[in-house]
Symmetry: C2
Subunit: 161 residues, 2 copies
DNA sequence: TAGATTTGCGTAACCAGTTACGTTTATTAT
DNA sequence: ATAATAAACGTAACTGGTTACGCAAATCTA
């Protein structure tokens, strides 16, 4: 008997394995930051990158770019604000919007963070065996999900309805 | 500019994409069950499969087989008990242990659930393009994580310490 | 230009996992 | 036989996402 029942389950175990992997990356990244006395959190990386590229963005724009729900972004940004990494100013054209940007503190910390992220990328390249096959297969999966998602396909394939 | 910033991020976006995918599978599976008036939940599948194979198992044995923490299993099993899908009896040899097994209700419902799971597997096969490349690449990633995990590799690869 | 609709964002409640800690029972060592 | 240690499992607090709902501001429409 295989040690790992999810592997033994074949196709049916895949979704559980994705969850396990995703969790492992999140928890280990968080531990890494804590170990290195950093008060930043795993998924801030993508916000930093976005705000380096775009200077100013609203909650909705960030949610669209990352394809997450807007409450997810609100929570993220609130924490980043509280720790002084993000500044906000009300949009001069539209009073519903806040324009978000990296704070001075964030910009000062960037070189250190950049070292962490570089280490993370290298670690990931190692874990992928220095090729992009997994990335490509993930991409195909995402593309097919965009055509017709899991739920839709399950419904269509269900026999005894 | 790509619509999806995580894709644009390359390697660095992979972990976020795994999270998104994993969440998508979980939420869509939950919706599917609800739509079909089923009171079961996404990850019960793996418990059902395990308890069909092994008849009786303890919390710790299940946690080991699925490589999840034992509190995760406790929560899962409590819900399954509450809805009458799992029965428990105290181990005759060791009073700390509960032997868990599928209830009569669970066994009766199996044929219907089996239809759902078959639809799920077929949907997954479609999404993977009827080949096992993604599965193989995931396996390699898991193997490399077992050799040395993400955190360990990041630490080793960090330059300016 | 007033009324209806849409948009942006905040909040609440939920979900599925984690770590940390505590209690009871079993096992090991002296 | 007893004391120390280990194991099983329960609970609490946290994390990072979701959906559902509400409100205020902006935009569209008649």
């Amino acid at each position: 008997m295989s040690e790992d029942f999810l592997i033994e389950m074949g196709y049916a175990g895949l979704t559980g394995r994705l969850k396990r992997l995703s969790d492992a990356f999140i928890y280990q990244t968080r531990d890494f930051y804590r170990e290195h006395e950093s008060d930043i959190e795993p998924n801030w990386h993508m916000i930093f990158m976005l705000l380096q590229k775009n200077e100013k963005m609203t909650v909705t724009e960030i949610a669209d770019a990352l394809q997450l729900s807007h409450p997810a972004i609100v929570k993220l940004i609130n924490k980043m604000k509280k720790r002084g990494y993000v500044d906000a100013e009300i949009d001069s054209q539209d009073n519903r919007k806040y324009q978000l940007m990296l704070s001075q503190k964030a910009k000062q910390k960037l070189p250190v963070l950049q070292d962490y992220w570089t280490a993370g990328e290298k670690a990931l390249e190692e874990l992928l065996g220095f090729n992009t096959r997994l990335l490509e297969e993930i991409q195909k999966l995402e593309d097919r999900m965009a055509e017709a998602d899991f739920r839709t396909r399950m419904d269509k394939l269900l026999v005894n309805e």
